[in-house]
């Protein structure tokens, strides 16, 4: 596939485990093909810290703190298409298990009462972003153009979706490769 201008792709992990990014690497040799076709903008794989104008933004993970909100909004502004990748981005995923428990209780437990603590205290530095009361899915904060389900989505479907988007088509996922376990 030849394109007159290389498309720019940005990727980010918010409240996720990086498994979705790893699944993207699981496209194996296609990765080298992809890197030949596109320019990578901000991503955990590059040293670009702020996203510039991009064609496609891939977001892994839900929104768990004030910084996630800021980064997600910046991505929405710079990316023409924003794609929610994986369960955490689509519905909060496993980190949203904490939504059932008051935040203060969790912090107390982890930093005050957990075994083996020399002397507990809850971290409270202005450098640490404020945690939100709950973990939110992306679409509750910004408009999302496409979602790719799975925990993580299979490499097969990530490659399928990217190939479609790069060719200017809406992504069509292979049902056989959609797994929710």
């Amino acid at each position: 596939m030849t394109t007159p201008r290389k498309l720019r792709i940005a990727t980010v992990s918010l409240a996720g485990c990086f498994g979705c990014h790893m699944s993207l690497l699981d496209i194996d040799e296609h990765l080298l093909e992809l890197l030949g076709q596109v320019e990578l903008d901000r991503s955990p794989f590059t040293d670009i810290k702020l996203p510039g104008p991009c064609d496609i933004g891939l977001v892994e993970g839900g929104v768990c703190n004030a910084e996630n909100v800021e980064v997600l909004r910046a991505f929405r502004q710079s990316c023409k298409l924003l794609v929610a990748v994986g369960a955490c981005a689509i519905n909060g995923g496993l980190p949203a298990q904490r939504n059932m428990i008051p935040l203060t209780e969790i912090l107390e437990e982890v930093y005050h009462t957990s075994p083996g603590l020399a002397h507990g205290l809850i971290p409270n530095d202005p450098e640490l972003p404020l945690p939100l009361d709950k973990v939110y899915p992306l679409h509750e904060i910004v408009r999302i153009d496409y979602s790719i389900p799975g925990c993580p989505p299979s490499a097969h479907n990530l490659w399928q979706a990217l190939s479609d988007l790069l060719a200017g088509r809406p992504p069509e996922l292979d049902q056989h490769w959609i797994r929710y376990d």
């Binding site: 990086f18 590059t46 603590l117 009361d133």
Partner: protein, 487 residues
């Protein structure tokens, strides 16, 4: 470094890139650009230890692997090892143990390959000051296409071992408390065996490559971010390297034993943790030495030097070469982590080869059980270092207590020491440039940190966040008052 924040200029590296997880570094500089403070902050809080409580124990191995998508197998196996004790499987069947070992060494291989080739090598091969937009895997693929391809295929092989033994490349379900749910078929074994010679050859050339880098610029490689500290890892009953099981051994900075053969079930007698207000990641230390002197390093550099030998021949020779390079003196240089990591890459390839030739992996005795217990601790050496999972289970099979000490947490103080050293040596009194800031990240990358497993908390700064939905309607708001309470 001082804590005074008056009249100081703040420089942030945010986010730290080409590492796994979320972190940032802040530097405070005075008017002459002297570095007064350098800190690595872990900025995410997830609270797994709390929300895992009340879940049935058998769900835990698949839940906790979502702590980390790079080393999910480590968390799954550490949880299973703890819960083996709960289901009374004090020893699991030979087939189950060997399948788990395959899974684990497959993961060591893929994670080490990923770290070196995809994340860290652009600094080492393209240059610390190379153009930041090219200093990544795409830049590597353009400049050294063969190396980039080797990295991709080494990682692919490790991921295939994981897929075959656990069902999926990421977040599989193969290991369960008491054993595994699947052995390997002949066809699967042969498929993997076919690739072994190539994987061994590439692993060996990775060691040659990293050694050559050391030899080309010894002053840089031996001194960059240098600090001295103790070492902690598991070793097997003979004192040799074992990444799946063993007893805890700790050495001081000169290589002297602090303790040896310590049973991980009692880790609480050996290790304590401290919290500091500016990071969600805790600071562990050896109880015997106290919080000032008791911190240590974990991971490849600690393991290679903590063990008496590596039980596979090629990697053992590589370990001896590594030790001989410093005349037998313990090596503490952070960049030597890369060399040690590539020795482990080779060891993982050799171990996979051995396991694949062992007919036990084709067996069908998969599960063991015995007298139920209420508590278990699971330890193993994850790619980044010693990993500890500790659970208690109540009468209804529900988790009632969970404590996790993840690999990167052990290295918290070590990484902070390393960035202070780099800040002093390279940034102090200088005009701050991108290349200089990248040096801070380079020393952090050497530890291959997995910042994903860290946390978030309540502070004392008055602060308010409003969350608006896509249409601009208010979804929620949260205020932090000056006294640290929430409304």
């Amino acid at each position: 470094m001082t804590d005074t924040t008056e009249n100081l200029r703040r420089v942030a590296i945010d986010p730290i890139s080409r590492v796994e997880g979320h972190g940032k570094v802040t530097l405070l500089l005075d008017e002459h650009n002297h570095v007064r403070q350098a800190r690595l902050h872990i900025v995410e809080f997830r609270g797994f230890e709390r929300f895992i409580q009340g879940r049935p124990y058998w769900e835990v191995p698949v839940m906790v692997q979502r702590l980390c998508g790079i080393c999910p197998v480590s968390h799954q196996l550490a949880a299973c090892k703890a819960l083996d004790r709960v289901v009374g499987a004090t020893s699991i069947t030979p087939t189950a143990e060997k399948i788990r070992r395959l899974m684990h060494y497959g993961q060591i291989l893929q994670s080490h390959a990923l770290h070196f080739f995809h994340l860290a090598s652009p600094d080492l091969l393209l240059g610390f000051d190379s153009e930041p937009t090219r200093r990544n895997i795409a830049g590597l693929a353009a400049a050294h296409p063969d190396l980039a391809r080797q990295g991709v295929l080494l990682r692919r092989f490790g991921q295939e071992v994981i897929r075959i033994t656990s069902g999926k490349r990421i977040h599989g379900t193969g290991a369960i408390p008491g054993g595994v749910n699947k052995a390997v078929t002949l066809a699967e074994r042969d498929e993997l065996l076919r690739e072994i010679p190539q994987i061994l050859a590439w692993s060996q050339s990775a060691i040659t490559l990293i050694r050559r880098l050391h030899e080309t610029d010894p002053a840089l490689y031996e001194n960059f971010g240098l600090f001295r500290s103790g070492l902690l890892s598991l070793v097997d009953a003979r004192g040799e390297l074992d990444l799946y099981d063993g007893a805890l051994r700790a050495r001081d900075a000169d290589g002297g034993l602090i303790f040896d053969g310590a049973d991980g079930q009692h880790y609480g007698d050996l290790i304590r943790e401290e919290v500091r207000p500016w990071s969600y990641m805790k600071f562990p230390f050896l109880k015997a030495l106290g919080n000032q002197a008791g911190w240590y390093k974990v991971g490849p550099l600690a393991r290679i030097q903590n063990c008496d030998a590596i039980p596979t021949p090629l990697a053992e020779q590589a370990r001896r070469d590594f030790m001989a390079y410093s005349g037998g003196q313990p090596r503490h240089a952070p960049l030597a982590y890369h060399w040690a990591r590539m020795i482990e890459l080779l060891h993982a390839a050799e171990t996979l080869h051995r396991l694949l030739l062992d007919d036990d992996i084709l067996g069908n005795e998969l599960m063991a059980s015995g007298e139920r217990r209420r508590e278990g601790v699971g330890l193993l050496e994850a790619p980044r270092g010693t990993l500890i999972h500790h659970y208690q289970v109540d009468d209804n099979d529900l988790i009632s207590m969970c404590n996790l000490i993840v690999s990167t947490t052990h290295n918290n103080q070590a990484m902070n020491k390393a960035i202070c050293r780099v800040a002093q040596d390279y940034l102090d009194g200088q005009e701050i440039s991108e290349g200089l800031l990248n040096r801070i990240e380079i020393v952090i990358r050497a530890f291959d940190p997995c910042l994903s497993c860290a946390t978030h908390a309540i502070g004392k700064m008055p602060l308010q966040v409003e969350l608006l939905d896509a249409q601009g309607a208010r979804l929620s708001s949260l205020s932090r008052l000056g006294d640290g309470s929430y409304t």
